[in-house]
């Protein structure tokens, strides 16, 4: 084991290296590019026995990832944001192929307006695809999750691709200390990829990804994929146990913090949970019974665990770094779905949307959420979903709008003078 300071991107690349991947179809996109730069350097230097090929788009990249995995080699790839969406047809398609491989998504807000900074709308777009999804909050977790994801993806009863998600900038470009597992132990943990029938060779005729006629066969294969994703729930715990035994780090499906006696709970995903942890510490010091539940395994959604964890709480605030236009926070709706109908559901399930396009969620805002939860619980009021935005931010955008307007007026005046 060696301990190094690594960015989230390097941690992801190390995950692929330690998993001894055979093949890396790639395409650059900010903030993911550093991953493929690291991998290409290692391959060029002969430190990694893999082949990397840069495709001409993410659509092609994900196609090649799926077709290579379906031809019996271990595949790693990475993308972000617009790239994930550009390849989205193939995200759904290769999941249907039951092609096991691991893809990193470095979350970044979607166009428009175009931005480079982080939020989760990109990864949420892959929510229903059949990819397993693990969301990371630290650089250490990224390396470890890549290793665990190969076990999940290649498991004989699962056989599906997996996405390991990390937040752009907040993790991708942030150095944190990472304990890198020894190469031998990592390789032993991941094991060799046994493609079984997933390969093309002569004398073994095989058709993959064929068309079907009619809803009967179509539904059958779709249900099969769904059940395979769900199968990952029980397999996950086995793998997490083995990982903890081997490397001493435990990753539950839901990362719970100060949950034992918590009356008020923050539920969220990704690296902003580390900010929420700080807020929980401060609030605890002030005597508030606050806890944090970070959803790590998002697909399959651990509904049973969510119920266990949140039942009996006084109030829960779900913080979404995504926005489903016309509906609101996606995680909020999923948590509500999981809790519906149980006897001791939390009295209040509030929705907050924040952290879009890299916007910070400040400590003060976490405090505000908890105090709103308490107040509403005391009065029995229903809380409307909140879109986090401060007065200062509004002033800033008004200033920008004033500049845009002034430019507009100047151009108009100049045009009039010409005439």
């Amino acid at each position: 084991m060696t301990r190094r300071l690594l960015t989230g991107n390097s941690a992801a690349a190390w995950g692929a290296r330690l998993a001894q991947v055979d093949y890396v179809p790639a395409f650059p996109i900010t903030p993911q590019t550093e991953i493929i730069e690291d991998l290409s350097l290692w391959i060029d230097r002969g430190e990694m026995d893999a082949r990397m090929v840069t495709l001409e788009s993410e659509h092609s990249m994900i196609t090649a990832a799926g077709s290579a995995a379906s031809s019996g080699v271990r595949v790693f790839t990475a993308t972000s944001s617009q790239g994930l969406l550009y390849g989205m047809e193939m995200v759904y398609t290769v999941a249907g192929w039951r092609a096991p491989f691991v893809m990193i998504n470095v979350s970044r807000g979607l166009s428009s307006p175009i931005t480079l900074e982080s939020d989760h709308n990109d990864i949420m777009a892959a929510r229903d695809s059949g990819f397993l999804q693990i969301h990371c909050a630290t650089c250490q977790e990224i390396t470890d999750s890549v290793l665990m994801s190969y076990r999940l993806a290649e498991h004989k009863e699962i056989r599906l691709p997996a996405i390991v998600n990390q937040d752009g900038f907040y993790l991708s470009f942030t150095r944190e200390p990472v304990s890198l597992p020894d190469a031998d132990r990592a390789a032993a943990f991941v094991g060799e990829f046994d493609p079984e029938n997933l390969q093309f060779k002569s004398g073994a005729p095989l058709s993959q990804a064929m068309a079907v006629l009619g809803g009967g066969p179509y539904s059958y294969f779709r249900y099969q994929a769904h059940l395979a994703v769900e199968r990952a729930l029980s397999v996950y715990d086995e793998i997490a146990d083995e990982f903890a035994d081997t490397f001493g780090r435990r990753y539950d499906m839901i990362d719970s913090y100060m949950m034992d006696d918590a009356e008020y709970v923050l539920v969220m995903m990704g690296s902003f949970a580390t900010k929420a942890r700080d807020a929980v510490d401060s609030l605890r010091q002030a005597g508030w019974k606050v806890g944090l539940a970070r959803i790590r395994l998002f697909r399959p959604l651990p509904q049973q665990k969510i119920r266990q964890l949140l039942s009996g709480r006084r109030a829960v605030a779900v913080i979404d770094q995504n926005i489903s236009m016309g509906m609101g926070g996606i995680l909020h709706s999923e948590i509500a779905m999981a809790l519906y109908g149980i006897n001791d559901a939390p009295g209040l399930l509030a929705s907050y949307i924040g952290g879009l396009g890299g916007r910070d969620i400040r400590q003060q805002e976490f405090f505000e959420m908890i105090s709103e939860l308490k107040q509403a619980s005391d009065t029995g009021d229903r809380l409307q979903p909140r879109l986090l935005y401060t007065k200062n931010e509004l002033t800033e955008i008004r200033n920008l709008q004033a500049i845009a307007q002034a430019e507009h007026v100047e151009i108009k005046q100049a045009e009039r003078k010409k005439k």
């Binding site: 093949y23 001409e56 092609s60 196609t63 990832a65 077709s67 290579a68 995995a69 379906s70 058709s207």
Partner: protein, 313 residues
């Protein structure tokens, strides 16, 4: 890589007498795409993985049936060459890591229609050639989006009536020169073929089998349903496409374009006029009915003559 003892093909008699592609596919009677594929498959042999993009031939493999004796992978409309990249690379990696024996190796063959090849899949194809991918690409070109009912595509010839060019003059645009676009990438091999000229086709497949790198084929695919003619005329229309000079059979090797079958001229120095080809097809009916469009026919003839003038010059 793959070496099989193939009889050198000089005459029709040398052609394989057994056929590999299974029968009973859901393709239309008289499908020119299937004809080309079937001829090609006989020469390529069963150690092939076909990687397909959305098009008519996607329906060759409908669960649980397939006419192929080797592999098949359906991808999507835009990315069959990228699918081939993944399969080829995986096979090479498995060979290199001794997980696949040389004799179990396979040839990777992309099969797409013109809708994919001329349009949506062109970027992926360009990328595959750019990377010098070792694969074969067969485009069966029926000059329109056939599987959706023959809307015009970038491969549709001037004046053809399609379901999205139903006016009295047909399609106003001109067929894209995909052969030249492909050749501009300087892959190891580019050729045009047609099922109705099986000997020319077989010789080309035999030749490209000995090569490595991107080997690109465009087959004109006469299409009874899309072009509106009796299926029994498919071979005749295919031959006329060659004889009238509409579909030049040629190959690009080492920077040079060689015509493999130059249309014969009669004693007065004329090729069979293009109208012999056009008048058999309902899509060009407006050139002859209700009255003959001499100007329209002459324009098409002139474009063909101009092409061949450059060839013989």
């Amino acid at each position: 890589m793959i070496k099989e003892s193939v009889v050198q093909i000089h005459r029709m008699k040398d052609m394989p007498s057994s056929h590999l592609l299974g029968t009973g596919t859901p393709m239309c009677a008289g499908c020119g795409g299937l004809e080309a594929l079937h001829n090609m498959y006989d020469i390529l042999g069963e150690k092939t993985v076909f990687v397909n993009a959305a098009g008519c031939l996607t329906l060759l493999s409908v669960y649980p049936f397939t006419p192929f004796r080797g592999g098949w992978l359906y991808t999507a409309m835009a990315s069959a060459p990228a699918g081939a990249q993944g399969v080829r690379d995986a096979l090479d990696i498995r060979l290199q890591k001794k997980k696949l024996s040389e004799e179990d190796n396979m040839e990777v063959v992309v099969v797409t229609g013109d809708g994919s090849a001329y349009g949506m899949g062109l970027s992926a194809t360009s990328g595959a050639m750019d990377r010098n991918l070792d694969f074969i690409y067969l485009c069966y070109d029926n000059e329109g989006y056939g599987n959706t009912g023959q809307q015009y595509s970038a491969a549709t010839p001037h004046a053809a009536v399609t379901s999205t060019s139903r006016g009295s003059h047909g399609y106003p645009g001109f067929k894209k020169d995909l052969f030249s676009i492909w050749a501009a990438h300087d892959p190891v091999y580019v050729a045009t073929i047609i099922g109705a000229e099986p000997l020319d086709l077989a010789k080309k497949i035999e030749k490209l089998k000995t090569m490595r790198g991107p080997r690109m084929l465009i087959s004109l695919a006469p299409c009874p349903t899309g072009w509106d003619y009796d299926p029994k005329l498919s071979v005749e229309i295919g031959r006329l496409a060659v004889q009238t000079g509409v579909w030049p059979l040629k190959e690009y090797i080492n920077g040079e374009v060689i015509h493999t079958k130059i249309p014969k001229k009669d004693k007065s120095g004329k090729r069979i006029p293009v109208e012999e080809y056009l008048k058999l097809q309902g899509r060009f009916k407006h050139l002859f009915h209700p009255q003959r469009d001499d100007k329209g026919i002459a324009e098409i003839q002139a474009s063909i003559d101009a092409y061949w003038d450059k060839v013989t010059a």
